[in-house]
Amino acid sequence: MRLNTAQFLISQAWSAILRNGAITGAAITNISVALCVLGVFVLTAYNLQAQAMQQAAAVEITVDLAKDAKRAEVEKSLRANERVKAVRFVPKAEALEGLAQRWGLDFSTLSRVGNPLPDAFRVVPVKPDDIEAIAEQAEQIPGVAEARYAQQTTTKLLKLARGIKLAGLVAVIILGTASLLLVSVTIRLTIYARRREVRIMQLVGATNWFIRWPFLLEGWFQGTTGGIVATALLLPGYAYLASLISSNLGFIRPVQSTELMVALGIGLVLMGSLFGVLGSLIGLQRYLQEV
């Protein structure tokens, strides 16, 4: 394609965008809405999963020591495991006090009859997924009587987190397809409104690509603008909502990662562009079929 032609095609697309103001606006509205919805879904799925992971991460392993254990050595072995984030020693007196408090019992009576609890370490894993492996490894350490953790709760939470991740992925794929549909159907409608023009261009001797280019550029513009608008609506809206949740529901910590936001923004804009171009291609094909 000569530079001259390229210039012409771009100016052609640009003037079509301006002159079809109403229709361009309508298409951009639709695309923004579609992408915004997609973004909301991504954020929801992401947060749900993060929430489940957070809960699971709060679970600790209690490593009970045998009567004759060497505390320092056990601690060293525990810390040597790179999957372990933190290790804290809990003397049996502290454990009993905690027990008494939790069950509302009289601590003094209980301690008078002798403390049946062992000394223990509380171990926090780096990744909740590793909890089982860490517990197993801990039991191999000489001087460790038993490694316990809230097995049921943890496996539940982990399963849940994985389920949400999978469901989120499926939902995002489905919604991505839905967005593609929305964007391409919308662009197809704008092309439908101009099908006569396409025919005229053909009759004057324009090749299919000569006709396509301005429409592609237009679709690209509409899609990209839609993506930008969606991002511009979504990110500040999410930031506001997240801070609202943080301050009112203190125990829920919404994901507030800049990387995620940037990735989401870029993702939406790219999807908008891609879908816009694809939508134009698909939409035009029908009218370019007839020579």
Partner: protein
């Protein structure tokens, strides 16, 4: 230049628009196509720029069988054919200037070329002062003249004019047809479908008359005496 050999066109529902038409036009020839409303004039012209394919027979333009043309070659054919459409077919979102320029854009003309030739043809059809208007801001006759300008601008070797003066007053009409004749004399093949007996009589050029899709008369020079 154009060889139409035993061509028939049948539309659905048994409408026979053309039946066994045999016509040959030399390079640089000028011919009127006359006939009553619905006699097949537009159909005949549509065959040549391949808006339509014949049901039977062959249409050979510039040595190529038009129906055998692969799809991607069709635009190349159309660039060699300037068409004045009966219903104008102007791009509604483009100005007069852009509509005319579009025929040049399509062949990849340079900007300079465009700025040279577009004003020239607009002057020729008397629309130099309406270059920035959009089609819906023009009178019927002005739109028709834009369409004529667009057909002329890239000086195609073949010009098809379908009722090019239907919306024009007698003076402009005569000027336009005179222009078409001059163009033919400079080597362009021109076919002009028309009802205007005045003009046919005035020009004394070749006349092909159709009646219900059949060529009933084909004279080298002639008037309109039995064109209807």
């Amino acid at each position: 230049m154009i060889h139409i050999q035993d061509v028939s066109v049948a539309y659905p529902k048994g409408i026979q628009a053309l039946s066994g038409v045999d016509l040959h036009f030399e390079r640089g020839e000028f011919a009127f196509i006359t006939g009553a409303s619905g006699s097949g004039k537009s159909t005949l012209l549509q065959l040549i720029y391949r808006e339509l394919e014949p049901t039977r027979g062959q249409v050979i333009v510039d040595g190529h069988d038009v129906s055998q043309l692969p799809r991607h070659r069709v635009p190349l054919l159309r660039r060699k054919v300037g068409v004045v459409f009966q219903d104008f077919r102007l791009l509604p979102m483009q100005t007069v200037w852009e509509n005319v320029g579009f025929a040049l854009d399509v062949i990849g003309a340079t900007k300079r070329d465009k700025h040279h030739r577009v004003p020239l043809v607009l002057e020729l059809v008397g629309l130099a002062d309406r270059a920035d208007a959009y089609p819906d801001q023009l009178s019927g006759g002005e739109q028709q003249r834009v369409c004529i300008a667009r057909a002329l601008v890239n000086t195609p070797p073949l010009l098809l004019a379908d009722e090019p003066t239907g919306n024009l007053d007698p003076v402009i009409s005569l000027n336009i047809v005179q222009l078409l004749c001059d163009i033919a004399d400079r080597g362009t093949t021109v076919l002009c479908a028309t009802h205007d007996t005045h003009i046919v009589d005035a020009m004394q050029r070749r006349v092909v008359a159709l009646v219900q899709g059949v060529v009933v008369r084909d004279e080298k020079t002639g008037g309109s005496y039995d064109a209807a």
